[in-house]
Symmetry: C2
Subunit: 253 residues, 2 copies
DNA sequence: TTCATACTCCCACAGTACGAGAATTTAAAA
DNA sequence: TTTTAAATTCTCGTACTGTGGGAGTATGAA
């Protein structure tokens, strides 16, 4: 897209998001000054936003979100949007690879699986369901999400959790987990090698929002084998690709 | 405003509201065809909406609301916006007239008062509070709101309610109330002449949304007297004016 | 009332947004 | 796999939208 092809629209939307953030605390003229918008232009755009109900006037020089903006959220959660935006892409990846793909988010110390797309055979991650919550420390998705936590959040998590072994390879030592998470952070991907089930492995990568924060993780699960292990770099690349496509679907540059 | 001064913005917002209504059921190309938007233009606009997070891609040719649109609604209700948009105008009216102004909406068979702006003296409607719910059949605001109900909704209301007299003049007969509401509908205003309190009267007018539906009512209350009664036409006009200003604050043409 | 600020209007001009059509990508059907 | 239809992106000359300074008006506060 040519950069200035949608200048008025872009400016108006920036203005809108400023108003949405500010919630009528700051005067309109102050906001537009920050944006460097000329008065007449700003008012012209505001009038159109007003006409469409996206903003409302709550006083002289004060605007807040409008009634149309309300209707938008009705019965819809961030997670729903994320799931719908990701679903077609996960479906494609699982079709291409024959493996089962997941998308999960971190909620209250657990991983919530928002999307599951089954691969060709059913012996991969047959126990997961959409909406299911699982422990974070023993899955690829979980490790990616934990790796994105701040120091304090991670400390809290590590001290609150009670780590039980799902398999002999599960990492249950808080120190070892810290090190593992550091590796994940550095590599930008996590591997679960028979840590959650004896005969399973998976790769997982983060999904970043526009500002680089990890908001979810994608994974591919497969039955464990030497040859499967060999494919991991390629799969991880594919997943990263998929993640950035999901990001694009959500409007993250 | 010159009509085509904000064409791209206007088109984009129309597109946005279509998507918001449709929720990804209809394909993008169908929507744009309905709007008569050329393909390339439509995609250019959609790309910008996407970039700002107002829409998200949920599949090939499918778009739904985006994550930014979510953030908008956070902790905000339609009633809040209505109240904030109306408050400065009611304040002005009550200052000009010295009377107490109210704005109320119909909720579950009762009137909820969203805004109260006190006049000069305190002997008008001293018993009302913002957020208070009162019976609809005996106040000006209530009568305006009842007058806007559909036949079936009104039938339901009339059969469900138990009408008690607040004063000797309160209309408690369901037939008489029907006639009174017809008058209100025809005149576009309601008068409460000592029906809720012995020494009080008030005028009320509807607030219409863009499509003409009554979404709220505004009123002015005063102590009863012959001279006060004589002012009612002028006050009603002023209120109608105020209502249309509130409407403008909300973006209703 | 006065004052400061918000808002609207005007209009000539710069350059954005337009949109047809071609090219490319994509997903699903065959 | 190939085929096919639809979605999406690209290109580019130009029409006309959007711009923004400035003047003028409206508004609310003191």
């Amino acid at each position: 897209m040519r950069l200035d092809d949608t200048r008025s629209l872009g400016r108006a939307l920036t203005l809108l998001s400023l108003i949405a953030t500010d919630r009528g605390k700051t005067s309109f003229s102050t906001l537009t000054k920050e944006l460097g918008l000329p008065t007449s232009t700003a008012h012209r755009l505001a009038a159109e936003l007003l006409k469409h109900g996206l903003i409302s006037r709550i006083g002289r020089g004060k605007y807040d979100l409008g009634v149309a903006a309300m209707g938008f959220a009705r019965g819809r959660e961030f997670n729903d949007i994320l799931a719908e935006a990701a679903r077609p892409i996960l479906r494609q990846v699982s079709k291409e690879t024959g493996l089962t793909a997941h998308l999960g988010v971190f909620e209250e110390g657990m991983v919530t699986y928002l999307v599951k797309s089954n691969g060709a055979s059913l012996d991969q991650a047959h126990f997961t369901r959409e909406g299911m919550q699982l422990e974070a420390y023993c899955s690829g998705v979980g490790k990616v999400l934990l790796a994105s936590l701040s120091e304090v959040d991670l400390d809290e998590y590590l001290s609150a959790e009670d780590f039980v072994s799902a398999t002999p390879r599960t990492v249950t030592n808080s120190c070892a987990l810290r090190q593992e998470l550091a590796r994940v952070r550095q590599k930008g991907m996590a591997i679960d090698d028979r840590e959650i089930a004896e005969d399973m492995m998976c790769v997982a990568v983060p999904l970043h929002d526009g500002s680089g924060r990890t908001i979810a993780a994608l994974s591919l699960s497969m039955a464990w084998s030497d040859q499967a292990a060999a494919q991991i770099p390629a799969l991880s690349l594919k997943l990263t690709h998929a993640a950035s496509r999901v990001g694009r679907n959500l409007g993250y540059a």
